[in-house]
């Protein structure tokens, strides 16, 4: 039976196949499968719809995607770990380059550009967090935090990790699954009026088996943990390590955690140039000091700069490769493999584009816009724009308890007004009742925010 040659499979051409089989000395392709016993061979056809041509495929997929409503169509106030930011066109241009898109594991010679771009990303993030070592990025913030606390456990030889109770609950799940069974986790209470860590509780839980304390700044709930130096002091007195998670887009205005004593800093690169992609834009980074006891605990690849035999040439290679699972299998540090390299390159492009001024400006605009939104929300009767009495960055808790409506009801009504309301916190943080986490960034205009305010007013007066 003659079959149509598929555009993706050149050697479907029958004459070519015949020639190749002749070289091999086989009668048919199926003969090459003689190593697979008949009882393991699939007898029935796979129940998958027949092939589509390129045009049909495009119609089919676009038809399905048209059932989505995107944040381009509705005004979006959802954040909670994936955030809508301005994305410079150059970021997209670079990460869509066919060379970067389709490269993989090339050597430092044929992929010199990939190595340099990732070394530069490491170097640019290093300036942002004010630390000397940054890894080739891992999957997301959750993984970065998971590895950070495991690194801390190996460095200190201790097994207990204290997590701030305000860490994103979904992120805690990643961290706890990743650390179990080797590590034990305990949560540190927080002040429900300010969000700040309860230092008395911290002190009580800082026993001699504590490897690290982990908190996020700005926190999942948006507030800025202003006790950074105090927490750091307590942690150091206990010979534990301080691990802090950050939203890197805040670091033009908020002090990087290394400046108040963090030993390991981690976070998500998604705000730095990645589209939300229904969560496909996440990428985690880890940063430390350039000390051998830290560097040797990274599972990730770390690209370093080296001279070549020719003067004036930069070369790049893997630093201390023999710590990785690529080199040592189960005896390596955790594991390494495909993670999120292209987002690392993109984050580098973003930081190069914004520069020192841009990073400060974007942080400031986010603070102004979000403060304006909170202020206006507070003027609505029954609504508290910011439930917590602390400065916040980008996200804040909006308290709807006095409105008589649930967050779910309000969000359903906001949807009718083409608004994606904030994330419902009533399941994750019972202490706040009917409250939602709203996210306001530099992409929100005054009109967007005023539309939200007006819409909530209308919903509440009905």
């Amino acid at each position: 039976m003659s079959q149509k040659v598929h555009p993706y499979i050149p050697n479907m051409v029958p004459e070519v196949q015949a020639e190749m089989l002749k070289v091999i000395g086989a009668e048919s392709i199926m003969e090459l499968y003689s190593c697979i016993p008949d009882e393991l061979k699939l007898k029935e056809e796979m129940n998958i719809p027949p092939a589509l041509t390129e045009y049909e495929l495009r119609r089919h997929i676009e038809g399905i995607l048209n059932k989505n409503t995107s944040t381009k169509e509705y005004v979006n106030f959802l954040g909670a770990g994936c955030w809508q930011h301005f994305i410079p066109a150059v970021c997209d241009e670079v990460n869509q380059r066919s060379e970067f898109l389709t490269a993989y594991a090339g050597e430092p010679y044929e992929d010199h550009g990939r190595f340099q771009a990732l070394f530069e990303y490491q170097s640019l993030v290093a300036e942002l967090v004010d630390m000397d070592v940054v890894n080739v990025p891992t999957f997301d913030w959750g993984q970065a935090a998971s590895t950070s606390v495991r690194m801390a456990a190996r460095i200190t030889g201790r097994k207990k990790i204290l997590l701030a109770n305000t860490v994103a609950p979904e992120r805690s799940k990643i961290i706890i699954n990743y650390g179990t069974p080797e590590l034990q986790f305990e949560f540190v209470e927080f002040n429900t009026e300010t969000g700040a860590m309860d230092l008395t509780d911290l002190q009580a839980k800082l026993t001699e088996d504590v490897a690290a304390v982990y908190f996020e700044n700005p926190s999942y709930l948006g507030f800025i943990e202003v006790q950074g130096p105090e927490i750091s002091k307590l942690v150091k007195e206990n010979d534990s390590l301080l691990v802090v998670g950050v939203d890197p887009i805040s670091l033009g205005v908020i002090a990087p955690p290394s400046q108040y004593g963090a030993d390991i800093v981690c976070g998500d690169l998604q705000p730095l140039g990645m589209h939300m992609n229904f969560s496909g834009g996440q990428a985690g980074f880890i940063a430390t000091r350039d000390e051998v006891e830290f560097v040797q605990e990274y599972p990730s690849r770390l690209f370093g700069i080296v001279p070549t035999v020719k003067e004036g040439e930069y070369g790049f290679g893997d630093v201390f490769y023999d710590r990785t699972s690529f080199a040592l299998r189960e005896k390596g540090k955790e594991s390494v493999g495909t993670q999120t390299a292209l987002w690392g390159i993109t984050a580098g492009v973003y930081l190069a584009l914004l520069g020192p001024e841009g990073m400060q400006e974007v942080g400031q605009t986010i603070m102004q816009n979000s403060q304006y939104a909170a202020q206006q929300l507070s003027q609505i009767e029954g609504v508290k724009g910011s439930r917590l009495h602390s400065p916040f960055f980008k996200e804040f808790i909006v308290d709807f308890n006095q409105t008589g409506l649930t967050v779910k009801e309000i969000n359903e009504k906001l949807l009718e007004k083409k608004i994606f309301g904030g994330k419902d916190l009533s399941e994750e943080f019972h202490e706040f009742g009917q409250s939602a986490l709203f996210c306001v960034t530099e992409v929100h205009t005054k009109e967007d925010i005023d539309h939200l305010i007006q819409s909530i007013k209308e919903i509440l007066t009905k």
Partner: protein, 521 residues
């Protein structure tokens, strides 16, 4: 006009060389890369500068030491770096065995840039992402057909993360049955990816590694000796990285099941198996596929990616939440999974990759998928035959056909000429080709692993083979040219001093380089 002679069997190639500075060296004070959305004046009047609310101890006092560079200069820098990167779009990427480098359809790249995909927030109301959930569900259905498994999760975002997820499920499964402490061993094989052993160790397991018998098959007697009441699970690739398919795989899974362990299948090497044989019939409880390998999503310099994880019905409730369900014409996210391990990655995984792979499957249909497998195997055996004819090359273990890839050896050539597989790596660069040795440890001496996939034509394969032939010839006649390679690459051979392993010398960032490299060499 005379005919221009083009008789060389290897490509007369030279890679782009721009000798680009490091991005910090482009710094020109006052230049600007991009303008940000401005803040509204009325907002400023209402809230002030926004940053005074930050207490002094938590304020950033000095701006980050980032470079200031104009937009065109930044673009040029990165486009030049991209040109110094050998993507699979323009090289015959056969040399990255185990990674299934195949054609990345351009239509899929166009589809993922639809704002109705790119600009979706993962927490949007389910009613507004029905299309996205439909694509997740449709891919799930296709993967069930391909594997025989009952449910898929696309949350794991690489093969390694899928392996880790499977090890997590194994642990939770035995804990739920009260055997969590007792079952503390996971069995794997040496020709499987290092991540199999590494991720199981992260999950607290003791690793038992089976070595092959004299023919390269995992040794069934060694498995029988290894299983016990301590066995939690068995993880293996089949074919392994040698391209050798273990025909006794069902006996292996039976032995492990009898001992009370779970069997999980690393299908990184599935490209020759689509529509031919499945995880279910081989007795596996779980399996995963790399969507960025077999299912044609791009590798993106090393992610983001997806390790599509399939499980039998009994293990559904152990999956990381949420999974997508379809009922009465509506798609929804199911978070309520009784024994769920929790999460391995935030939200739903890498949605673009899910979309790309679904599109790829739909472009091929069931017959096309089977053709992918068959041509991948044809290409590999053609290549196998040709490579074995090259002086100094061999392929240890069983003779006869292999599936989609082969782990070869230059042992003979290295012994006879001193040219190693690492030398070949650098020399292949001179012909515009990528070549990878193999994962450690080098059980096969002087190894290299070739996987020609369905994407390459006979002519492409011949080009790669000619380059290997040429290097072998050089090794025997003029080994220095190989040992001092590359000659036509972006850069020359790196200085062999200990710049990467000595803490005093390594520089992982530019700021660290500026501190450590104080004087000119």
């Amino acid at each position: 006009m005379q005919r221009i002679k083009r008789t060389s069997k290897t490509r007369d190639f030279h890679q782009a060389k721009w000798n680009e500075p490091i991005v910090f060296e482009l710094h020109q004070p006052g230049e600007k890369g991009v303008e940000l959305p401005p803040v509204n004046e009325q907002i400023v009047s209402a809230v002030g500068d926004g940053v005074s609310v930050i207490p002094d101890t938590m304020k950033r006092n000095e701006k980050p030491n980032l470079p200031e560079i104009g937009q065109a200069r930044i673009l040029r820098h990165y486009v030049r770096l991209s040109q110094e990167t050998l993507g699979s779009d323009f090289n015959v990427e056969i040399g990255q065995g185990t990674c299934t480098m195949k054609y990345i359809p351009k239509i899929n790249e166009l589809l993922i840039r639809d704002p109705k995909m790119m600009e979706l927030h993962p927490l949007q109301d389910e009613g507004t992402v029905q299309g996205m959930l439909e694509i997740f569900h449709n891919l799930d259905l296709c993967m069930r057909e391909i594997s025989g498994m009952d449910y898929f999760s696309f949350q794991p975002s690489s093969g390694t993360q899928a392996l880790f997820t499977m090890a997590s499920i194994v642990r939770k499964y035995h804990e739920t049955r009260g055997e969590g402490d007792q079952r503390d061993e996971i069995i794997t094989t040496i020709f499987s990816h290092p991540s199999q052993a590494a991720t199981a160790a992260v999950k607290g397991y003791k690793i038992i590694t089976l070595h092959p018998d004299e023919n390269g098959f995992p040794d069934i007697e060694k498995l029988k000796a290894a299983v016990s009441e301590r066995t939690a699970g068995f993880v293996v690739a089949n074919p392994e990285d040698t391209g050798i398919f273990n025909p006794k795989i069902k006996e292996f899974t039976d032995i492990v099941h009898e001992a009370g362990g779970l069997c999980f299948y690393d299908q990184a090497n599935a490209n020759g198996l689509l529509g031919i044989t499945r995880a279910k019939e081989a007795g596996f409880d779980m399996c995963f596929f790399n969507l960025h390998k077999t299912f044609a999503a791009p590798h993106m310099c090393g992610g983001p990616a997806t390790g599509a994880l399939g499980v039998i019905a009994e293990l559904r409730d152990y999956l990381p939440a949420p999974i997508v369900e379809h009922q009465d014409g509506k798609y929804s996210l199911q978070y309520d999974l009784k024994h769920s391990i929790g999460k391995v990655r935030s939200f739903h995984g890498v949605a673009q990759t899910v979309l790309r792979s679904y599109a790829w499957i739909r472009a091929l249909g069931p017959d096309g998928l089977k053709e992918v497998a068959k041509i991948a195997v044809l290409n590999n055996n053609y290549m196998y035959h040709k490579v074995l004819a090259i002086r100094g090359a061999s392929a240890p273990y069983v003779k006869g056909h292999r599936l989609e890839q082969v782990r070869y050896s230059w042992e003979q050539m290295a012994n006879e000429t001193g040219v190693t597989t690492e030398d070949v790596t650098r020399r292949m660069t001179d012909f515009g080709l990528h070549y990878w040795t193999s994962h450690h440890p080098y059980i096969v001496p002087q190894p290299f692993t070739l996987e020609p996939t369905e994407s390459y034509s006979k002519e492409d394969l011949d080009e790669y083979i000619h380059a290997l032939e040429q290097i072998s010839k050089e090794a025997y006649e003029n080994p220095e040219i190989v040992k001092t390679a590359p000659h036509n690459s972006t850069i020359h051979k790196m200085d062999e001093q200990d710049f990467l392993d000595d803490p005093e010398k390594w520089c992982i960032t530019w700021r660290s380089y500026l501190k450590k490299a104080k004087t000119e060499c």
